[in-house]
């Protein structure tokens, strides 16, 4: 068909229609050439048409084949259409069928549910009836557990079911039953409460526990716990009363008399802890987890009441407040009031810390218990509920009267302990004594014993804040007061040297003689006290050093003690940080003592050593080093200076060596060595030398260094490096020989002298010409 339409227009119009040349135009042609041209064009056109026709003819067979195939398909399509219609019919049918079936199932389901509900309700009604009957019988038989179980069943029934049942045909009966049940419930509650109260009055624990277990069945959890707590509180109160009576009757000679109030508190806490321990399982079993808090909260009220009584008695009996007042007045330094003897405070301070330690232990116990119970009870609870519970707990622990009372007692304690420490330290200082042969005096050991004791006592209270406060006070005491004592002793200085002493001794002896002659007696105190003052200065230096070390030891000891306390779970989250900070302040005081030691040593060096050493060194100037062979050998036989110098030094240092600790002595010799080096250099530069004089000096210096090396533990070569180099220069054969040691030839030697100094030393040799020295290229 497509071929037909395509060829249509061409067939209609014929060759002339499509030809570019119309018949009219051909007929109008006259010229031969034009005719020929027209002819050839027509021939071309004919050829094209012929080709097109051929192509169309070729397609004909293909088209025919396709037509045949189409014809064959016709019947098949009809078949398919029939099948499809049939299928649609079947589906519709099945669908209807399914619809039918499922609706029936749904109906069945509904029926079944209703049936169940009906059974449930029937059951409930039966239960109700059963409960009603059961309750009556149980009540008649005084089987309260059974009765409560029935009521519990009734209470757990679906209220709407009961409501529905009442609207039913048998509503009347059910109504009546319900009324009876409610009456029974009411009666049972009354009976249980009544019986519980009676049992409580009689102190009949088995019956108390029996009825305690019934409360939760009646939905009376809170009431049950509060009633039970009431019973427990009464027991606590009775026991506490008894204990307090015992306290009042305690003989003062009793072994525990000094801590009797702490013991009474301990008994109270132990009693409560035992109660919690014994009754927690019942509460947990019959009331469920998470209820311990309520129980303990009730108990805590009684605990507070009893604590108040004990503490009131304690305050009255031990005169706690008056003693505190007196201490406070003494601290104000209004010296008019009579100072309280610190020793008298000792027992009461120990007792208070013990009381607090017991309280902390108890509070930690109930805290742990409540947390554990909440954890079980709140295992499914939201985060908010958990936080809420944590808040309750914190409030209970922080706001209970027990905590507040103990905080108050500890507040007073700290002030009194501080006073105790300060006064006792003052006493130790006042009674300071020194035994011959000892390096330190008694007060250092005493003071540290006291400080350790006071901090140790604060630590034994188990209160971190109390401990930190006492560490702070100790730091203050050591840093200000005690350090001041030592500082003042050092400020008195080391008395003048023996040489000056001798002079002064003579004049003072003359004076003393004068005065004593007038008074008719002779007093040697002036001379003796100089020795004492010397001793005192050296002992104080030792004291200062030991203090510095003791503080570090104390810090270390406290660190390990504190970590023990913390590992037992005392103190809050910041406890460690607080203690660390307070202890590091204490450690800083150790350095202040070190500074003081340095101060004292340089004082000793400048007042005792320098005034003596300097004249000895100055004697060097009176020994000529501009010498010839004869004098040189004479010097060899009779040493003019250095042997005596060494002897003097040795004599002087024996005193210090005996009186100072090895470490301090070592530092002191170090200072002395530096001093000698500096002073010797000064006199050296004022002297003149011959070749042999240089050699003499070299010998002298070697002897000196050899001696000093034996008395110090550290190397002194460094301190004498400049002097040794000067000796080398003074020993040169000629000026230019220096170049063998200088600059590139210095080898391992590091010159400590500047070129100018080298020239200066060279110039000390009288036999060196100044032009030669000037000409040197250094």
């Amino acid at each position: 068909m497509a071929a037909a339409t395509a060829s249509g227009p061409r067939g209609e119009g014929g060759g002339a229609a499509t030809s570019a040349l119309t018949m009219e135009r051909i007929q109008s042609l006259t010229e031969l050439t034009e005719l020929e041209a027209a002819y050839s064009r027509l021939c071309e056109e004919e050829k094209v048409v012929q080709e097109e026709l051929d192509a169309l003819l070729e397609q004909q067979s293909t088209i025919e084949n396709k037509m045949v195939v189409l014809h064959r398909m016709g019947p098949n399509l009809q078949l398919i259409e029939g099948d499809a219609q049939q299928l649609a019919g079947m589906i519709t049918f099945t669908c209807n069928l399914a619809e039918n079936v499922s609706s029936k199932v749904r109906q069945l389901d509904l029926a079944k549910n209703r049936l169940y509900q009906a059974i449930q309700r029937a059951d409930d009604i039966l239960d109700l009836k059963f409960c009603m009957d059961g309750v009556q019988t149980a009540l008649r038989n005084e089987d309260y557990e059974q009765a409560a179980a029935h009521i519990h069943r009734y209470l757990s029934l679906d209220k709407s079911v009961i409501e529905l049942s009442r609207q039913g045909k048998e509503g009347g009966i059910i109504d009546a039953n319900l009324k009876l049940l409610q009456e029974a419930e009411h009666r049972l509650k009354m009976i249980v409460t009544e019986k519980f109260d009676t049992a409580m009055k009689q102190g009949d624990l088995p019956r108390v526990e029996r009825f305690f277990k019934i409360f939760p069945l009646l939905g009376l959890h809170e009431e049950g716990l509060s009633k039970f707590s009431e019973y427990l509180c009464k027991q606590v109160a009775n026991k506490a009363e008894e204990n307090l009576q015992l306290v009042m009757g305690t003989d003062m000679s009793d072994r525990r008399a000094a801590v009797i109030f702490a013991d009474t508190l301990t008994l109270l806490f132990e009693g409560i802890a035992r109660i919690v321990e014994t009754h927690q399982p019942i509460v947990e079993t019959y009331y469920g987890p998470g209820r311990l808090y309520a129980l303990i909260k009730h108990l805590q009220v009684e605990c507070d009441r009893q604590v108040e009584k004990v503490v009131d008695k304690f305050i009255k009996e031990r005169d706690y407040h008056r003693q505190f007042q007196q201490v406070q007045n003494s601290m104000m330094r209004s010296s008019s009031v009579e100072k309280i003897e610190p020793r008298e405070l000792d027992p009461i301070l120990t007792e208070v810390t013990l009381m607090n330690a017991r309280s902390e232990l108890y509070l930690r116990f109930i805290k742990r218990r409540i947390i554990a119970d909440f954890e079980v009870g709140d295992s499914m609870a939201s985060e908010e509920v958990k936080q809420e519970h944590q808040k309750y707990l914190d409030k209970l622990l922080n706001n209970c009267l027990l905590s507040r009372t103990m905080q108050e007692l500890i507040g007073y304690y700290i002030t009194m302990e501080e006073y105790f420490m300060r006064e006792t330290v003052n006493k130790a200082v006042a009674m300071d004594s020194y035994e011959k042969g000892q390096l330190t005096s008694s007060m250092v050991d005493d003071v540290f014993y006291i400080v350790k004791k006071c901090i140790g006592r604060a630590l034994s209270s188990s209160s971190i804040d109390c401990l930190c406060a006492m560490i702070n006070h100790s730091t203050t005491e050591l840093e200000s007061d005690f350090r001041e004592v030592l500082h003042n002793k050092l400020k008195q200085g080391f008395p003048a040297t023996t040489f000056q002493d001798f002079q002064r001794g003579v004049t003072s002896a003359v004076n003393i003689m004068h005065s004593s002659l007038q008074q008719g007696k002779f007093d040697t105190k002036g001379i003796e006290s100089t020795d004492e003052a010397k001793q005192s200065f050296l002992v104080t230096l030792n004291n200062v050093e030991v203090c510095s070390e003791n503080i570090m030891t104390l810090k270390k000891t406290l660190e390990s003690d504190c970590s023990k306390l913390l590992s037992q779970g005392f103190g809050g989250e910041q406890a460690q940080a607080k203690i660390d900070s307070c202890l590091s302040d204490m450690a800083a005081v150790s350095n202040k003592f070190r500074d003081l030691l340095q101060e004292g040593l340089s004082e000793l060096n400048s007042t005792a050593i320098k005034p003596q050493v300097k004249p000895w060194i100055n004697l060097f100037l009176s020994v000529s080093h501009n010498i010839e062979e004869e004098e040189f050998s004479d010097y060899e036989a009779n040493d003019p200076w250095v042997q005596q110098f060494i002897l003097n030094l040795e004599q002087q240092m024996t005193e210090f060596k005996a009186g100072l600790s090895p470490v301090i002595y070592d530092t002191l010799t170090g200072l002395m060595t530096s001093l000698i080096a500096i002073e010797l250099e000064k006199v050296l530069l004022k002297s003149t030398f011959s070749r042999l004089g240089g050699l003499q000096f070299d010998k002298e210096l070697r002897s000196l260094i050899a001696y000093l090396t034996t008395v110090t533990t550290w190397t002194i070569r460094d301190k004498f490096a400049r002097l040794s180099q000067m000796a080398t220069i003074l020993n040169l054969e000629r000026v230019t020989e220096i170049l063998d040691y200088w600059g590139p030839n210095s080898g391992p030697l590091t010159w400590r002298l500047t070129p100018a100094e080298v020239r200066q030393v060279l110039a000390l040799r009288i036999d060196f010409r100044s032009e030669d020295i000037k000409r040197l290229r250094l």
Partner: protein, 203 residues
Amino acid sequence: MSMEDYDFLFKIVLIGNAGVGKTCLVRRFTQGLFPPGQGATIGVDFMIKTVEINGEKVKLQIWDTAGQERFRSITQSYYRSANALILTYDITCEESFRCLPEWLREIEQYASNKVITVLVGNKIDLADKREVSQQRAAEFSEAQDMYYLETSAKESDNVEKLFLDLACRLISEARQNTLENNVSSPLPGEGKSISYLTCCNFN
């Protein structure tokens, strides 16, 4: 203890009557929190915050003390080692202001004489309940030679400024003591904490 993690360490102790907001000031500064319904502090609390001032790390050790009377002997023991004291009162509570002389006596008795004291009137967010006028407090602080600042821990007003300016002052003080006058001391207001930039000057 290594000295590498800071250039300066200062101890700051907050004191003042119970309930004036000491803990809230510290919490606001150290944690950026304002916890409502804060319970009374027991004994002392301890917080650390490191701030940067002119490129120098300054570690502030802040001791938050309980205001209640029964903790007084504990808190007093911290005065002596304190570099600075923040004496706090509540601008809506006349009583807390009237107690200031008593606090000053305590400072006189226990603190080192080199301590810097700042007077802080807290709770300015409760302006309509104000009982202590700014002028009165300013006069008082001037007479006592103290720095003075009003804050709100709740609205975070002046809290950063309080601590950072104090740190600046402590640094210059420390420099003067070590005679390092050649190093220029930071001026107050140059302190920067991680999240805030303060610009302020002292009255």
